[in-house]
């Protein structure tokens, strides 16, 4: 079933505020196998000019699982998650995420288009602190395999 194009431009509620802890940054850095000391050692982060340990650029993927479901699981959108693969991902940073940040993602659906038999769902989220400081923009394209409308029925 094709995706509902009426969702383009729609904004969705932000996730519950998420507190970025030094432990969660270290765990994430361990999981990706990145030993950089600024992800785990406050002294190293301060020596690099940061107020606290900072997170690797892709740490924000964690947030995607907090603000994403309200948008992607809306039954009226018509997305079957079993048919989905990740097409691309982009992060633009105002500053790095760091321990102590309390963050939310404010998501919206930026586009839906078909190419061949696949459909592409483009989402954007502004990542901000609860006090309104903008940290990053996350932009993602996911591919819904084989759900595009047939030519003759369009």
């Amino acid at each position: 079933m094709p995706l509902n194009k009426g969702f383009v431009g729609r904004e969705f509620p932000a996730n519950e505020p998420y507190t970025v802890t030094a432990e969660s940054i270290r765990d994430f850095a361990d999981a990706i196998g990145d030993a950089n000391p600024v992800y785990r050692d406050e002294a190293a982060a301060k020596a690099a000019g940061q107020p606290a340990v900072i997170a690797p650029p892709t740490y924000l993927t964690k947030l995607n699982f907090l603000y994403g479901p309200a948008m992607l699981a809306d039954p009226d959108l018509g997305l079957n998650y079993a048919m989905v693969v990740h097409g691309d991902q982009e992060y633009s940073f105002t500053r790095p995420v760091r321990a102590g940040d309390v963050v939310i993602g404010k998501p919206r659906i930026a586009g839906i288009f078909a190419k061949g038999r696949n459909e592409f769902l483009v989402t954007e989220a502004s990542i901000e602190t609860v006090s309104g400081e903008k940290i990053a923009m996350a932009r993602s394209t996911i591919v819904s395999r084989g759900t595009a409308p047939q030519e003759e029925t369009r």
């Binding site: 969660s24 765990d27 994430f28 361990d30 999981a31 990706i32 196998g33 990145d34 950089n36 600024v38 992800y39 690099a48 000019g49 940061q50 900072i54 690797p56 650029p57 892709t58 993927t61 964690k62 995607n64 699982f65 907090l66 079993a82 693969v85 990740h86 097409g87 691309d88 991902q89 982009e90 992060y91 633009s92 940073f93 500053r95 790095p96 932009r139």
Partner: protein, 140 residues
């Protein structure tokens, strides 16, 4: 918040030294836990095959994380990375026991405003490109 690479020392077309990493089933389990992406296609071989995949596949975001590490290691400061974009062009298959090896390479494609440069990056398994990425980095 200062990169260790100086803008003046970098030229367009310059290639970064390629780098390899190994990804195993254990890495995928650890990444699933830390990222929150518990999709079984990244952990459960029977499930992956049932939905038409050849085997367990890596999280695309893990590939992007390693591309990110390649860039932050080069720059010498993760805070210098102001933009990172990756396109997942092919799946990274992760067989049991052996895992797989991914090579990351990059080059400087432009020098822009102030001290910013743009890098073009590629991740590959053997001859197959699995990721095409771009990073914008604020150099010293």
């Amino acid at each position: 918040m200062t990169a260790k690479v100086r803008f003046a020392d970098v030229s367009v077309g310059e290639e970064l030294k390629p780098w390899r990493y190994r990804v195993t089933r254990e890495d995928l389990v650890a990444y699933a836990g830390a990222s929150g992406d518990q999709n079984p296609i990244h952990q459960d071989e029977a499930f992956a095959k049932q939905v038409g995949l050849p085997d367990v596949i890596s999280h695309g975001m893990l590939t992007m994380a390693k591309i990110g590490q390649y860039v932050t290691d080069w720059a010498g400061d993760p805070a210098a990375v102001v933009r990172l974009k990756a396109r997942f062009t092919q799946m990274v298959i992760v067989p049991k026991d052996t895992g797989n090896e991914v090579t990351v390479a990059g080059k400087v494609t432009s020098k822009g405003d102030g001290t910013r440069v743009v890098l073009e990056l590629a991740a590959a398994v053997g001859d197959v490109n699995v990721g095409a990425a771009e990073a914008e980095v604020e150099l010293a």
